[in-house]
C-alpha cells in the first residue's frame, strides 16, 4: 500500500456490472470490494477524535473502530464490532442511504470525499458470510430469562428487535404474514440491489440466536394482539410495515396491466415472476412501461421493467429533478440503464382497449410555482398541455399507507390522523399497555435503517420495562 498523504479524497469506486449488461439480468449490480480495494478505502479513514459518522448512524455503529480493524487486517474483529451494533450489516451495507447519514457526517465529506462506509460495511458482512466458523465462534452464551416477547413482522424493524431481545435472554417469537421472512427486504427490494440469499443469511443469523419465526401468521386474523398477551407474551412489538399501496385515483386505474409498485415488486421479488413459467406467478410487462412517482421504489420498479425486456421505461413525475425523493445513486443507476425521466408531468386518466387492458395514459405538463407545505415548489398545471402516450404497462409508485388489519383488531391502540400507530419516538411505546411499535407502521414509509433504529430502541425499552415490572 502506498504511503498516504494527510488527506486522500479519492473514494475507491465499487465495481459494478456494466449498464448494458446488467439491464438484462436480475443479478446484483454492485459487485463489492476486493480485499485490496477494501484495504485501500479503509486506509483513507483519518480516525477523527470526534467521529461524525457514528452520530449519523441511526444504530450508532462504531464505524471508525470497524474500519480500523479492516485496515489492520483483523476481519473477525471488524465483524465483532460491526455486529455488536448492527445485526443486519449485509443488508445495511447495500441499501442504507449512507450519503444522508454516516457518510454525510463523515468529516471528510466537507472536503468532498467521505469514506465509503456502506461499501466497507458490505465488505465485512460478505466476509463473515464466507466464514461461517467466525459466526459460530462469536455467538455468545446467553442465559434465558424466561420472559417472552412477540414481534409482529420480520422486516428490518422486527428482525433487529428480535435479535437484540434474544441476545438479552428473551425468548422471542416473530409472526410473519408472508411465506418467507424478511418483509420488504424480500418482497420489495429487487434481487439486483439486495440478493435474497443475503437476506436469508441475515434471517438465519437471527434464528441462530434462538428466535422462532412463525410464517403465514397474519396477526389480527389468526390471533389478535390481545390474544398474544393472554397467551403469555410479556410484550408485543408491532413492526408489520406500511403495506397498503396508494393509487393515483384517476379514471381507468383498474384496467389490467396497471400494477401498484407493491404488486409489481411482490410478483417479481417474492414470487419470482421473472422466472415464469418455471415459477407459477405470471407478470405482464409490455414494450412501453410508465412508472409514476420518483422515490426509490419507483426506481426499483422501472429497473425491474427494463430487465423484463421493456423497450422504453418512463419515470413520470410531477415535480422536477431537484425534488425527486430517490437516492442519487439509485437515480443514476436507473439513468445509466436507460430509464427515461419525464419530469413536470402528471397523469390525468388511463385509456384501455376492449379487453380492459391499459393502452395509453393521458397526462399534462406542470410548472413550478410557490413553495407548498413541504417547502418544495408547488407544481401547477400548464393549461392546454394535455398529451397522450401509448403504454402497455403502468406502475403507480406513490408510497403506502398503514395496513388496517392490526389497528382494526387491537382495542386501545391510538392512531395518528395518517393512520399510523401513535408511538413515542424514543421508546417506541404505544397508547396500549405492553405494546410497542416501530418501522413504517409508526412513521409512515421510511428507510430500512430507520426501521432498524426503531427496532433497537424498542428492544431496549421493552427490556427496561419488563425488568421494572417483574
Amino acid at each position: 500500500m502506498a504511503e498516504k498523504s494527510k488527506l486522500n479524497l479519492n473514494r475507491v469506486p465499487i465495481p459494478k456490472q456494466a449498464p448494458d449488461e446488467r439491464k438484462r439480468n436480475f443479478n446484483e449490480v454492485a459487485l463489492g470490494y476486493t480485499d485490496e480495494q477494501a484495504l485501500e478505502e479503509a486506509s483513507r479513514c483519518i480516525a477523527c477524535k470526534k467521529p461524525g459518522c457514528k452520530e449519523g448512524c441511526p444504530v450508532n455503529v462504531e464505524i471508525p473502530e470497524f474500519i480500523k480493524a479492516i485496515g489492520a487486517g483483523d476481519m473477525p474483529e471488524a465483524v465483532r464490532i460491526l455486529k455488536n451494533r448492527n445485526s443486519l450489516p449485509g443488508i445495511c451495507g447495500r441499501v442504507c442511504p449512507q450519503e444522508s447519514q454516516c457518510e454525510m457526517t463523515c468529516n471528510l465529506a466537507k472536503k468532498g470525499g467521505p469514506i465509503a462506509i456502506g461499501r466497507l460495511e458490505r465488505y465485512v458482512a460478505d466476509w463473515e458470510r464466507a466464514h461461517p466458523e467466525i459466526r459460530e465462534q462469536q455467538k455468545g452464551q446467553v442465559s434465558s430469562n424466561s420472559k417472552k416477547v412477540a414481534v409482529i413482522g420480520s422486516g428490518p424493524a422486527g428482525l433487529t428487535s428480535a435479535a437484540d431481545l434474544a441476545k438479552l435472554g428473551y425468548s422471542v417469537v416473530i409472526f410473519e404474514a408472508l411465506h418467507v421472512a424478511g418483509g420488504v427486504l424480500m418482497y420489495g427490494i429487487p434481487e439486483f440491489r439486495l440478493p435474497k440469499a443475503i437476506v436469508q443469511g441475515e434471517v438465519g443469523y437471527v434464528k441462530s440466536l434462538g428466535v422462532e419465526i412463525k410464517l403465514n401468521h397474519v396477526i389480527g386474523k389468526i390471533a389478535t394482539v390481545d390474544e398474544l398477551v393472554e397467551d403469555g407474551f410479556d410484550a408485543v412489538f408491532l413492526a408489520p410495515g406500511a403495506g397498503a399501496p396508494m393509487f393515483l385515483n384517476i379514471p381507468g386505474e383498474n384496467l389490467s396491466g396497471i400494477y401498484s409498485a407493491n404488486e409489481f415488486l411482490t410478483r417479481t421479488n417474492l414470487m419470482k415472476a421473472y422466472r415464469f413459467p418455471e415459477y407459477d406467478t405470471p407478470i405482464q410487462v409490455g414494450r412501453r412501461v410508465a412508472v409514476f412517482g420518483a422515490g426509490n421504489v419507483a426506481m426499483d420498479a422501472s429497473r425491474c421493467a427494463l430487465r423484463y425486456g421493456a423497450e422504453e421505461v418512463y419515470i413520470i413525475y410531477r415535480r422536477s429533478k431537484a425534488e425527486m425523493p430517490a437516492r442519487l445513486e439509485e437515480r443514476e443507476n436507473a439513468e445509466e440503464e436507460g430509464v427515461i425521466f419525464k419530469l413536470l408531468t402528471n397523469p390525468s386518466r388511463f385509456l384501455g382497449d376492449e379487453r380492459g387492458r391499459v393502452r395509453a395514459v393521458e397526462s399534462y405538463e406542470m410548472e413550478l410555482g410557490e413553495p407548498d407545505a413541504s417547502g418544495r415548489p408547488r407544481p401547477v398545471r400548464k393549461p392546454g398541455s394535455e398529451f397522450i402516450m401509448e403504454i402497455d404497462t403502468a406502475i403507480p409508485a406513490l408510497g403506502t399507507r398503514p395496513n388496517p388489519i392490526i389497528p382494526c383488531t387491537t382495542k386501545g391502540l391510538e392512531l395518528t390522523k395518517w393512520g399510523t400507530v401513535l408511538t413515542d419516538e424514543v421508546t417506541g411505546r404505544t397508547s396500549k399497555d405492553r405494546v410497542w411499535c416501530g418501522g413504517d407502521m409508526a412513521t409512515g414509509a421510511a428507510t430500512v435503517i430507520s426501521a432498524m433504529g426503531a427496532g433497537r430502541r424498542a428492544a431496549t425499552d421493552i427490556d427496561a420495562w419488563i425488568k421494572n415490572h417483574s
Binding site: 404474514a177 408472508l178 411465506h179 418482497y187 410464517l215 403465514n216 401468521h217 397474519v218 386474523k221 389468526i222 390471533a223 403495506g243 397498503a244 399501496p245 393509487f247 386505474e253 383498474n254 389490467s256 396491466g257 400494477y259 401498484s260 407493491n262 404488486e263 411482490t266 410478483r267 414470487m271 419470482k272 415464469f276 413459467p277 418455471e278 415459477y279 407459477d280 406467478t281 405470471p282 405482464q284 379487453r355 380492459g356 387492458r357 395496513n403 388496517p404 388489519i405
Partner: protein, 292 residues
C-alpha cells in the same frame, strides 16, 4: 407444511380438501378465505373456506380445477403436504336476524353456502336455498344443503328439474310472485352472482356476493384484487370478500379475472408433460377429472 387429511373429487373437476390448519380452524368464520401456495415455485391463490373442524384442527376448501395451481393441488394425495396456508382472511359475513333469507349457489359456492345457511338458521332466519348446476352429473351435496335450509330448489342447466335453467331465472320469478326475502346471498360462478344481483336489483332486495378476483398476498398489501363497488375502488382481500352485488362493477371484475388467461394456459401446458403420472392418477379417482 400443512397435511392433506382428506381429498374427494365430488363431481367432474370439483375437488374437496380437508387440510391441517389448527390455528386457522380456531378462528375461522363464514365468509372468510385462505391463501394457499402448493409448493416452492407455486403462486399464492385464494380459496373460500367451506368449513372447519376445531377438534380435528382442520379447514375445508372446495374448488374447481382451472389450471396449473389447482391441478397441482388436486393431485396431492391424502397424507401429502402443501407448503403454505394463510388465514382466515377477509371479513366474516355479517350474520344478523334478517327474517327471510335466500342463499343461491353454484359449483364451488355450494360449500361456503352450506356454512352460511347453517349460521343464518342458528340466528333464527328462514333460509330458502337455490342450487344451480350444469346437469345431474355436476350436482353434489344437495342433502347437506337441504339439512340446513327450510326450502331448497335445484336448478339444472339442462332444464331437467323444473322449468328454469339458471338460478337467476328462479330468483327473478320467486321475487315476481310476491316473495320478498330480506337478504339474498350468492356464492359461486361470477355469472351466477352477477345475474342474480341483476335479478334482485329491481325489487330492492339487498344482495350480498362473495367475490373471487385474482390475489397475490391476500392481506391488503398489493392491490391486485381491487374491484369497483359503488364507484369506489376496494381491495377484496381486506374490504371484502363480500360486497353489495347491486354496486359491483361486474364487467371490470370479469376482465380483471381474465387478465392472465394466456399465461395460465402456457403454464399449464408446460407443466403437463412432466406430470402425466400425477394427472393419470387423478383421473382414475372416483368422481373423475378430465384434463384439457
Amino acid at each position: 407444511m400443512y397435511e392433506i387429511f382428506k381429498r374427494e373429487i365430488l363431481v367432474p373437476n370439483t375437488v374437496y380438501l380437508k387440510l391441517e390448519a389448527p390455528e386457522i380452524a380456531r378462528k375461522a368464520k363464514p365468509g372468510q378465505f385462505v391463501i394457499l401456495r402448493v409448493d416452492e415455485v407455486g403462486e399464492r391463490f385464494p380459496l373460500s373456506l367451506t368449513g372447519w373442524d376445531k377438534k380435528e384442527g382442520a379447514v375445508e376448501v372446495l374448488f374447481l380445477i382451472m389450471g396449473r395451481s389447482t391441478m397441482k393441488l388436486s393431485s396431492l394425495k391424502e397424507g401429502g403436504c402443501i407448503m403454505d396456508v394463510v388465514g382466515p382472511l377477509g371479513r366474516p359475513t355479517e350474520i344478523e336476524s334478517y327474517g327471510n333469507t335466500m342463499c343461491v349457489c353454484s359449483t364451488f359456492g355450494v360449500g361456503p353456502t352450506i356454512t352460511l345457511a347453517k349460521a343464518l338458521k342458528e340466528k333464527g332466519n328462514k333460509v330458502v336455498s337455490v342450487m344451480e348446476a350444469k346437469d345431474e352429473t355436476y350436482l353434489f351435496w344437495e342433502d347437506k344443503l337441504r339439512n340446513v335450509s327450510d326450502e331448497i330448489h335445484i336448478v339444472l342447466g339442462d332444464g331437467s328439474r323444473g322449468k328454469h335453467r339458471q338460478a337467476s331465472q328462479f330468483v327473478k320469478e320467486h321475487l315476481k310472485s310476491g316473495n320478498k326475502p330480506d337478504r339474498v346471498f350468492v356464492f359461486g360462478r361470477v355469472f351466477t352472482m352477477m345475474e342474480c344481483s341483476q335479478a334482485t336489483k329491481p325489487f330492492g332486495v339487498k344482495t350480498i356476493v362473495g367475490l373471487t378476483p385474482i390475489m397475490v398476498d391476500g392481506t391488503g398489501m398489493c392491490g391486485c384484487c381491487r374491484v369497483s363497488v359503488g364507484g369506489e375502488t376496494k381491495f377484496t382481500c381486506v374490504d371484502g370478500a363480500e360486497f353489495d352485488g347491486h354496486l359491483v362493477d361486474w364487467e371490470l371484475l370479469i376482465k380483471r379475472k381474465r387478465a392472465y388467461l394466456k399465461e395460465e394456459a402456457q403454464a399449464f401446458d408446460l407443466w403437463q408433460p412432466d406430470n402425466l403420472r400425477r394427472i393419470a392418477e387423478l383421473s382414475e379417482l372416483p368422481g373423475r377429472v378430465s384434463v384439457v
